[in-house]
């Protein structure tokens, strides 16, 4: 495994940076460390990113140097998280008003809308981490043939539940927000519910499959 670098982020956070380029193996090690670090004393938050991990701690109670050592040791000793995430199916209505950019993705990729839906639903995606907004999954596993550049003009409001492609990534917007991804479908599934436990449908490590409930093309 590559050497990890521990960097300070202000007086109350540390980043474990692996320098790797988005591999699942590295991400699985980080999930294992995240699960442990969440129970260390004075640690407030543990945030996996893409092949990196940030911990937030109480700067008056914790010893930052000790925490950095602990983090380094955890990386050196890390085993791949054996925890296989849950399998979650996400029903999607593709095309039409639900996926206004499906035609655009078809034009760009040279594939028919039906073929795009077939490929998008064929893959099993893995939630690398959750960030940006509550429950927003960074998914690995998009068919490279489906990669389509973001819109030149981002939409001011992308509706909640929109399923989109942004470059070589795919994901779902849990809440309405501005966004530049190409919208190919929509899911009625609720990805964030503050009253639920846990409050987000998806968590790092979960395996996601999109299921076409309807295709309007």
């Amino acid at each position: 495994m590559t050497q990890a670098v521990i960097q300070a982020l202000g007086e109350s956070a540390l980043i474990l940076n692996t320098g790797a380029s988005a591999t699942l193996d590295c991400q699985q090690r980080l999930w294992a460390i995240a699960a442990k670090a969440a129970h260390w004393p004075h640690v407030r938050d543990v945030v996996p990113g893409m092949n990196n991990l940030t911990i937030l701690f109480d700067p008056l109670a914790a010893d930052a140097e000790q925490l950095a050592d602990k983090l380094q040791n955890a990386w050196d000793a890390a085993s791949v998280s054996q925890k296989t995430g849950r399998k979650i199916e996400i029903p999607v209505t593709y095309g039409g008003a639900s996926g206004p950019d499906l035609e655009e993705v078809a034009r760009h990729t040279g594939l028919s809308p039906a073929e795009i839906v077939k490929r998008h639903t064929a893959a099993e995606y893995i939630v690398y981490f959750i960030g940006f907004q509550p429950g927003f999954p960074y998914l690995g596993g998009l068919d490279p043939q489906l990669a389509t550049p973001r819109r030149s003009q981002p939409r001011l409001v992308v509706p909640a539940g929109s399923v989109g492609i942004g470059g070589s990534q795919t994901g779902i917007y849990p809440a309405a927000s501005p966004g530049g991804w190409q919208l190919i479908g929509h899911s009625a599934l609720r990805l964030f519910d503050p009253a639920a436990n846990p409050p987000t449908l998806l968590q790092p490590g979960d395996r996601v499959r999109f299921v076409a409930s309807e295709v309007i093309a």
Binding site: Q7, A8, L9, G10, E11, S12, A13, I15, N17, S21, A22, A34, R44, D45, V46, V47, P48, G49, M50, N51, N52, L53, T54, L56, P59, L60, A64, F129, I130, G131, F132, Q133, P134, G135, F136, Y138, P174, A175, S177, F192, P194, A195, P198, P199, T200, Q203, P204
Partner: protein, 324 residues
């Protein structure tokens, strides 16, 4: 207990925010000026992290529908209680029917109204703070609007209700009265500091940065000379937190604030120390700041100083409580 008669633009219920949920994309939220919130709370006998109303822009008007005790902290909004001036940092009793008015801010940007017992919103994910983006917490996840009714909780310690004490106040920490042309904000160099040329690093420390009106509870956008990045600035997404100074490709820095998203991809040139985030929160649009380099030891020292100041207020409050 409180009825909003006239809402300003971005007034919401806030406390010290939530932690432990950032891995699910759930941000901190909470008061931008945590010191002002804490002081206002202590002055009415609350724990320092009780929920209060954060006012960002006036004018606002609200009526009390029951008796209680209140205090304002933070910005000076030229407040009046039944048309009589109500200074900030002052704890007073209110009676049902009285009307509190906040006018345009004369100094600072954000004021906090604490009420004995705290604002009684249902805690969600460990906090009563409003997450305005995700739309939960506080009062239905929304900014306050005309006609909203809020209730106060039961005072934490009934003997601390201070009904016997008349009005009293404190002198706030000196920085609230600091009228310097340019605010000095202390910064610890960030993980990508070395991605910037030495000349750019100098520019970062030596320039005056103007707070633009495009700023909000998520981030404060600054304008000044362009900060050029040495090499590829595309990083893999990583965790970010309030205080982080990101530099997007256009070279104009953004300081992340309480409602900041949990992950980001821009280079982090520095991090504003936690103790200075409260000072930054009171900066008015089009005013300037200068970044001053500092280290983690100093940052902790400042936090300790703030904590001991709050401790002093808490101790003094015990003197005001009626003997049992």
């Amino acid at each position: 207990m409180i009825k909003i008669l006239r809402a300003g633009r971005i007034n919401s219920i806030q406390d010290m925010g939530r932690s432990g949920f950032r891995h699910l994309g759930i941000c901190q939220s909470g008061a931008l000026d945590r010191t002002a919130l804490a002081i206002a709370n202590l002055l009415v006998g609350n724990p320092s992290d009780a929920a209060a109303i954060e006012f960002t822009l006036g004018p606002c008007e609200l009526a009390f529908t029951a008796d209680g005790r209140i205090a304002l902290g933070g910005a000076d909004f030229a407040a009046t209680l039944d048309h009589k001036p109500l200074p900030s940092w002052w704890s007073v009793r209110v009676r049902a029917g009285q009307i509190l008015r906040l006018n345009a801010a004369r100094h600072g940007m954000r004021a906090y109204l604490a009420i004995a017992g705290g604002i009684d919103a249902a805690p969600q994910l460990g906090s009563r703070a409003t997450d305005l983006q995700a739309g939960f917490g506080g009062h239905g996840g929304c900014a306050l609007k005309e006609g909203d009714s809020l209730t106060a909780g039961a005072p934490d310690d009934p003997t601390a209700a201070l009904h016997g004490a008349a009005s009293f106040g404190i002198r706030p920490p000196s920085w609230y009265e600091d009228d310097a042309e340019t605010l000095a904000i202390r910064v610890i160099p960030g993980p990508e500091y070395e991605l910037f040329t030495q000349a750019t690093q100098k520019t970062f420390w030596n320039s005056n940065w103007t707070l633009t009106p495009q700023s909000n509870r998520m981030g404060f956008r600054l304008s000044g000379p362009e900060l050029k990045i040495k090499k590829g600035s595309d990083l893999l997404s990583h965790g970010v937190l309030p205080g982080v100074i990101q530099v997007p490709p256009a070279g104009q820095p953004i300081v992340l604030m309480a409602d900041a998203q949990t992950t980001g991809g821009y280079p982090k040139i520095g991090v504003v120390i936690s103790a200075d985030l409260a000072r930054l929160a009171q900066l008015r649009f089009n005013r300037t700041i200068q970044f001053v380099e500092c280290d983690a030891a100093q940052a902790r020292e400042e936090l300790r100083r703030d904590a001991s100041y709050l401790q002093q207020i808490e101790t003094a409050m015990h003197w005001l409580r009626p003997a049992k």
